[in-house]
Amino acid sequence: MSSIGSREILRFSVNGRSHELLVKPYATLLEVLREDLRLTGTKHGCEAGECGACVVLVDGTPQLSCLVLPGQVEGSEITTIEGVSDGGTLHPVQQALMDHGALQCGYCTPGMVLSSKALLDSNPTPSREEIKEALSGNLCRCTGYVSIIEAVEDAGRAMA
């Protein structure tokens, strides 16, 4: 990364659009997305890697954006919650979460959607244990998780 003064130039792409931003080297990806790009769909519950609310996909892999520094995503393709649905059509994971009542306050939902999408992209027919494992870094205080597991199973079937 090149820098100007105390700032670095970050070149990356978010939801298919390329950006060139001047950022603090210690700013987190979470901050860059929420504050510089105003993509506030990515949430934060701890800013310390403990809750999963901030999950985004970095080149298709789920990452806790609160723990990622600009230097780590130089040249990467980021997918945030704003980039998941296709125009007016919900992604199968979003649709299934909605149909199963698997969101309440919805604050964990963006992270949940992205972690689930990443799982199903690599394994469209996960077992319950695989779903639990893949989502174990995403906390939800509202739903009790049960409906989310059912929704992800369903979404996998819809995507198959």
């Binding site: 993509l39 403990e50 306050c105 919805g106 205080r141």
Partner: protein, 790 residues
């Protein structure tokens, strides 16, 4: 999920269906703007400086270095916010910023507004506060002793006692004298916190004498009042908007320092000011579950009928009053809504300690005594050789009855919820097997508190429905904190107007735009706001039907409403026709609970509700006799919902309640060492993830409450309650040792097993209940039945 219908009313079109929430899409695509997502042009960022002493006098605060920093726009201290506030009229004991004394680690003393959070934080670090430390009080026992320095507060007392109560109903001594078996037990319930996923956040503007605050609050109505008091400003100049909410569970029910601070800073700077708490601060703000020490003594007859009960509680309230007076009374109020207790004595005390203030968390003041009561009954059953389910059945309250503490019981599905979980889990067919166990418990909860938090005669909930340009808007002060209240209101209105829930635009939780609703607490919204919405919708339906009947030249009774039509007209055409004839159409509905639902004695305000929900749970688990590790296999939960407005949403509330109950039963604790919170992070404060959560089978029992909207009752809090004792009971079933303390952890189980191995009682838990000088018992005369139907 199984729904057990007791009513064959099948002509409902949307009520009771499993439909998605009306606000789902915005949340799923990341468009819903929670408080911290709101940013207005020129926004300044606020940080609070918090005390690092648990108890200290504030000798001086020097903000000059902070003010001199580049990027800092304003700094305030307690001098700028001198008026105290608090959620209850009797606990106006908080300053937004403390100027004279701090009472817990985390108590705020100053606030900075700066161009960004980083600068605000750096400015906080250079504010110099000189403290004179005082003795810190950390436990109930310590708080009961006379303070060596000074009491934490200069009101209430003696010493650090905040509130006490002592009531007796019926002839308790006589009941014990007649009993053939009497048992005493002591229990302790460790406090825990809400841990909402969203950190509290608020943003304020002050423009042309008008203060507007968007906040992640459950209760904009009470925040509005508190702001008016603190700023000595007319209510009409203040607007509080509950922003879309990232989870409350009771933790966002008080007015908070950061809300006062951003408001004041917006007034001073003329710019929008936002404050978002860090996760660590959320642990300090707390207002969570009180730690409660409990002693209970019950006398039963030969055949297991309860003849008398004496219940004592001591609550660790933390540093401020908050909802404390109510919390204390709630630890004694609802024992009687599940069991017929003919003679009942309750003594309770709440003390101040130098810890983060406690308040209401899901179940407010009732999970602790429910845990104690259910295990106490298990022990009695075993002592007298009766099946624990049978013992309970012999004492269950009857529908349409009156409890000894004057609470009115109406619809009551306690028998049905018991049948559902006992049968489905085959509880009675389980084989005795070391390491495997099942536990059963029941509970009940209120559908909204019968009285408001402060005395006033406003309706508890009001709705306005407006039909304009062919569309419907519903305005209500209720706040959707994730529990689905917007969906409930939309569904109630849609049913009446022949529409689909997503056809109704909901405007909620905004003191500037919506009529009064007291807030999202005490599981009150479905019952109270739902009834207000029903009334407003019925009236609107009548107006539209009449206009259409006139056009169709038929009687209103012949106009069918449904499928988006009013008679022959589409809803839109009917609405436009009515608007042409009558102008813009508005109807209103309001709800105030009936007066005869509780008693008239002092303290009778806590407990009454227009209806009670009932829940029963069976927990199946394995508990390892060598490590004390618990593995949950399955939970069966049945809930008397009255009738579901949206069964998918109810199932979600029930499963969420089960999860929260399990997590706090087995893991969660708000613990301190030397005045410091031991684990103010989500990593250290353990809670359930996907991996710990077992399978849950849910049964919804329809009892069709006569006063609930379409017969509905609450689901938000009740289903948590039976889960906690059922876990502990199942561990006893598996290992034969009692852990009379929550959370139940492997080390406590091992200590109980150890004790048994050494020939002592196989138990872990508090040894004794302290000597407490409760006030003289107030003997309450029996309920005056002449003033009520039953």
């Amino acid at each position: 999920m199984t729904t057990v219908a007791n009513d064959r009313n099948t002509d409902l079109r949307v009520i009771g269906k499993s439909l998605p929430r009306v606000d789902a899409v915005g949340k799923l695509i990341g468009l819903t703007a929670y408080a911290d997502d709101i940013e207005l042009p020129g926004t300044l960022f606020c940080k609070l400086l918090r005390s690092h002493h648990p108890h200290a006098r504030v000798l001086s605060i020097d903000t000059s270095a902070a003010l001199a920093m580049e990027g800092v726009v304003a700094v305030i201290t307690g001098v700028d916010l001198p008026i105290k506030y608090g959620i209850m009229p009797t606990s106006q004991d908080e300053h937004a910023l403390e100027n004279e004394k701090v009472r817990f680690v985390g108590d705020p003393v100053a606030a900075v507004a700066a161009v960004d959070e980083e600068t605000a934080l750096a400015a906080c670090r250079v504010i110099e506060v000189v403290y004179e430390p005082l003795e810190a009080i950390e436990s109930i026992e310590h708080a009961l002793l006379p303070p060596t320095d000074e009491p934490i507060h200069d009101y209430a007392g003696p010493g650090n006692i905040h509130r006490m109560g002592a009531l007796e109903f019926g002839e308790v001594d006589e009941g014990f004298a007649k009993s053939s078996f009497i048992r005493e037990d002591v229990f302790f319930y460790e406090g825990n916190t809400h841990l909402p996923m969203e950190q509290h956040s608020a943003i304020a503007t002050y423009v042309g004498d008008q203060l507007t605050l968007w906040s992640s609050t459950q209760n904009p109505h009470y925040v509005h009042r508190a702001l008016s008091r603190v700023f000595d400003m007319p209510m009409g100049h203040i607007r509080v908007v509950a922003a879309p909410h990232g989870g409350g569970f009771g933790g966002k029910s008080d007015p908070f320092s950061h809300e006062m601070a951003v408001s004041k800073l917006a007034m001073i700077t003329g710019r929008p000011v936002k404050c978002t708490l860090t996760r660590e601060e959320v642990f300090y703000v707390h207002r969570g579950r009180h730690p409660v020490l409990m002693w209970v003594r019950t006398g039963v007859s030969q055949d297991g009928k309860i003849l008398a009960m004496h219940f004592r509680t001591a609550l660790d309230g933390g540093a401020y009053g908050s909802y404390g007076p109510a919390s204390m009374l709630y630890t004694g109020a609802l024992q009687t809504t599940t069991y017929n207790i003919p003679a009942y004595r309750f003594e309770g005390v709440r003390v101040f300690t130098n810890k983060a203030p406690c308040g209401p968390k899901r179940g407010h003041g009732t999970p602790q005594p429910r845990f104690a009561l259910e295990l106490h009954l298990d022990k009695i059953a075993e002592s007298i050789g009766l099946d624990p389910v049978e013992l309970r059945r012999r004492n269950y309250v009857k529908p349409y009855s009156r409890t000894i503490n004057h609470l009115r019981i109406t619809s009551c599905g306690i028998e049905e919820v018991t049948d559902q979980v006992i049968n489905a889990s085959r509880y009675h067919e389980r084989k005795k097997q070391l390491g495997h166990g099942m536990g059963f418990a029941v509970s009940s909860y209120m559908c909204g508190a019968g009285l408001p938090i402060y005395w006033n005669k406003l309706p508890h909930s009001e709705c306005i429905i407006q039909v304009n340009r062919g569309g419907v808007s519903l305005y209500c002060g209720a706040t959707d904190i994730g529990q689905g209240s917007d969906t409930v209101l939309a569904t109630v209105a849609a049913e009446q107007l022949g529409l689909w829930p997503t056809d109704i635009r909901i405007v909620s939780g905004d003191t500037g735009l919506t009529p009064v609703d007291l807030g999202s607490y005490s599981s009150r919204v479905t019952f109270m706001a739902g009834n207000a919405a029903l009334q407003a919708a019925k009236e609107m339906r009548d107006i539209l039907v009449e206009v259409v009947a006139e056009k169709m030249e038929c009687s209103p009774g012949d106009v069918m409403v449904g499928e988006g039509k009013i008679g022959e007209l589409s809803f839109e055409d009917a609405a436009l026709l009515a608007q042409e004839r009558l102008g813009v159409l508005t109807t209103r509905g309001s709800y105030t609970p009936p007066r005869d639902i509780g008693g008239k004695y002092k303290a009778a305000g806590v407990g009454p509700s227009p209806a009670y929900s009932y829940s029963a749970a069976v927990v199946d688990l394995n508990a390892d006799p060598y490590s004390g590790e618990i593995r949950l296999n399955k939970v069966w939960i049945a809930h008397d919902i009255g009738r579901s407005i949206n069964s998918l949403a109810v199932k979600g509330q029930v499963e969420g309640g089960v999860y929260m109950g399990l997590s706090e039963a087995m893991m969660e604790g708000q613990l301190y060492r030397n005045g410091l919170h031991k684990q103010p992070s989500m990593l250290d404060y353990k809670s359930f993830t996907f991996l710990e959560m077992p399978e849950v089978e849910t049964f919804l029992v329809d009892t069709v409450d006569l006063e609930g909207p379409y017969g509905a009752k609450e689901a938000g809090q009740g289903p948590l309650l039976p889960v906690i004792p059922a876990v502990v009971s199942a561990v006893y079933d598996a290992l034969g040792v009692w852990v009379d303390e929550v959370p139940i952890t492997p080390d406590k189980i091992m200590r109980a097993l150890d004790a048994r191995a050494k020939g002592r009682e196989g138990r872990y838990g508090p040894k004794k209940f302290p000597q407490i000088s409760y006030p003289p018992i107030v003997k309450v005369p029996p309920f005056d039945a002449t003033s009520s139907a039953f």
